[in-house]
């Protein structure tokens, strides 16, 4: 049971379409289109991907996009700022959900 999140599994990502090749192929086409430079640069998209990877706690994506950011000449400072954007968003989302808590408190308390 010690085999979750093995580094070599990242190389297996290209095989995720194994049992549904048509869907896999459509996914990779979509992924490729979404990630290539458009109105946003490849650089900006890599930083967004890195922020998402860390907030979603995906070790494969963190590995892939840290390397991608380095390759694109993105500095550690810029990467860290992107991660802080993700962290601030997650913190904000958690706090925003406390609205529900506050509403219930206000309803229930005398």
């Amino acid at each position: 049971m010690g085999d979750y999140y093995e580094k070599k599994d990242l190389d297996d990502f290209e095989n995720i379409g194994e049992y549904a090749p048509e869907l896999g192929s459509k996914y990779f086409d979509y992924y490729g289109e979404a990630m290539k430079g458009g109105e946003l640069t490849e650089r900006e998209k890599a930083l967004i991907a890195l922020a998402v990877a860390t907030t979603q706690k995906c070790p494969y994506c963190i590995d892939a996009y840290t390397n991608q950011c380095l390759s694109l000449g993105i500095s550690p400072g810029e990467m860290t700022e992107a991660v802080h954007v993700g962290a601030a968003m997650v913190a904000g989302i958690v706090l925003a959900h406390s609205t529900q808590m506050r509403k219930i408190i206000k309803k229930k308390e005398m």
């Binding site: 380095l70 694109l72 000449g73 500095s75």
Partner: protein, 318 residues
């Protein structure tokens, strides 16, 4: 170098052959005032290897008698060779495309001013290493204070017209990764360099070459010391791009070592792998007809030139 699987030879399956000789790359010696951590030449102030006048004369003889369109002079730092001003002037007389690869820092020395005048007169293309637009990242790789001196050198070159559109004086910068990863797309890196250097320092350049670090020399030592070698080689192998094979620099150039020995590329020169397969391997026996179509000497380091968009001394190849 530890073996990898599959080997480069297995990956390409058929022998790699030269398709012509368009570039004569001449390494005039390994002495340099810097000791960059990525340097495949392992150049530095203690290196004493330097091309003799006799070998330089042989190079000039070959160039005078053979129609090779491009002369590419490299080192070490070529400017440190005492015969370099004479040699570059002789090369300039041949009216070919002439490139000189410099670490940039030395060009700020007063004694280089006449050399820069010659570069301008002869339309010599200057190629400078600038691994990153972040000062800390560049200095980590090339030495403390190098980034700002290179910026100063670019500013001085811009003032002379180098890197300014319309002057016909090309200034090429070279990017290479400051660690154990592959370089990004050359076009995107060129855009981000251009924007950063213009906005932060008000300087410009003509184009950017993006070069993959070869797993040899000082860079190989770094990979092994930091336990990155296996990962790096796996990354190179996974990124192997058959499309890069047709544009590989070894297929259109010959590299001349400081002692006149001929190699398929500067990397083979550092590995001590001269042109093989019974061909003359010294500049004194240079024969273009025999070198065209020669079988290239390959090794696992060649994965460095075939990963992703490919890599060469002229940047990406695919």
């Amino acid at each position: 170098m530890p073996k990898v699987s599959p080997s480069f030879e297995e990956m390409v399956s058929t022998p790699l052959r030269a398709s012509g000789v368009e570039i004569l790359q001449i390494n005039v010696g390994y002495r340099c005032n810097l000791e960059c951590r990525h340097c495949h030449v392992q150049a530095g102030p203690q290196r004493s290897e330097a091309m003799t006048r006799e070998v330089m004369e042989e190079c000039l003889r070959v160039l005078r008698t053979t129609p090779l369109p491009t002369i590419d002079i490299t080192g070490g730092s070529p400017e440190l060779h005492p015969l370099f001003p004479w040699f570059v002037e002789e090369c300039a007389r041949l009216d070919r495309r002439l490139l000189v690869r410099s670490n940039g820092v030395l060009l700020l020395d007063e004694h280089c001013a006449p050399l820069l005048d010659l570069y301008m007169r002869s339309r010599v293309e200057i190629v400078l290493s600038l691994p990153h637009v972040d000062p800390q990242i560049t200095d980590r790789q090339r030495g403390t204070g190098v980034f700002h001196r290179v910026i100063e050198a670019i500013r001085m070159l811009n003032a002379r017209g180098y890197g300014i559109e319309g002057t016909g004086l090309p200034l090429t910068l070279v990017h290479n990764p400051a660690g154990a990863y592959l370089p990004g797309a050359q076009k995107a890196l060129q855009s981000s360099y251009r924007a950063a250097l213009r906005e932060r320092y008000g300087i410009s350049f003509t184009r950017l070459f993006s070069i993959t670090n070869m797993p040899i020399g000082r860079y190989l030592e770094y990979l092994r010391r930091t336990d990155n070698y296996g990962d790096y080689m796996r990354t190179l192998i996974k990124a192997f791009n058959p499309e890069s094979l047709k544009g590989l620099m070894c297929r259109s150039m010959v590299s001349v070592g400081w002692n006149g020995r001929l190699y398929d590329c500067d990397f083979n020169q550092m590995l001590g792998l001269p042109i093989d397969h019974s061909l003359p391997d010294h500049i004194s026996g240079f024969d273009k007809e025999r070198l065209v179509g020669r079988e290239i000497v390959i090794g696992d380091h060649c994965f460095g030139c075939t990963a992703g968009s490919g890599s060469s001394c002229q940047g990406q190849v695919a």
